[in-house]
């Protein structure tokens, strides 16, 4: 199975939403700020549930937040 990378546009989306802070996003999706930092840096791949919640917080689809790259 080829190694896949999951990138994300969270930093860009936060910027587009009035410079939403990582803490604000964490509060909206119900996780800790450290988890948002890890997801944003690509060090932690969130569960489907959290991925959908993050997308919902920005009002976009999951595919607009996370990209699957082989």
């Amino acid at each position: 199975m080829p190694k896949a990378e999951i990138s994300n546009r969270i930093r860009r989306l936060r910027f587009d939403h009035d410079e939403m802070t990582q803490q604000e996003l964490a509060d909206r999706v119900g996780c800790t700020r450290q988890t948002i930092i890890a997801v944003e840096a690509g060090k932690y791949v969130p569960s489907l549930s959290l991925a959908f919640q993050i997308a919902k917080a920005f009002g976009v689809s999951v595919e607009e937040v996370f990209q699957y790259e082989e």
Partner: protein, 145 residues
């Protein structure tokens, strides 16, 4: 730093100090005098129980899916905790291997080992189990940002 990560550091500091103290007592007094020396036996047992109690207060609440601790951690912390069990497994295997080699080498000629050792192996495995969980937690946070 995540709350679980802070507690893992604290747990390792407490556990490491107590483990070093227990090891020091056993080396200075001799492990085989464990049953003859009441003071030594109660001191070592007390230290180990203290270490387990500290661990129960620091880390065990994070293993529960309910309660007030739930607000302090999320799915990433749960993933870190799950992965830490791998470190626990390797820690226990390593400790049992070390005991096996050491006891075999030392007591090979006698053909038997003093009865105190199964008891000490049990306590040492409990200590290694808690310490390696802490190390596993720190490794998990390092790998997951």
């Amino acid at each position: 730093m995540a709350p679980l990560q802070k507690r893992a550091w604290l747990g390792i500091a407490i556990g490491g100090t107590i483990s070093a103290a227990v090891l020091g007592i056993l080396i200075i007094n001799g492990a085989t005098s464990f049953y003859d020396d009441n003071m030594m036996r109660w001191t070592v047992t007390g230290l180990i129980i203290g270490m387990l109690a500290a661990w129960a207060v620091l880390i065990a609440p994070f293993s529960s899916s309910k309660g007030r601790m739930k607000a302090l951690y999320d799915e990433r912390d749960e993933a870190v905790l799950r992965r830490a069990s791998g470190a626990q497994l390797w820690g226990i295997i390593g400790a049992l291997l070390a005991w096996s080699i050491a006891l075999t080498e030392i007591y090979w000629d006698q053909g038997t080992i003093p009865i105190v050792f199964p008891y000490l192996i049990f306590w040492s495995i409990l200590m290694v189990n808690t310490l390696s969980q802490g190390i596993g937690i720190l490794i998990g946070y390092r790998r997951m940002g």
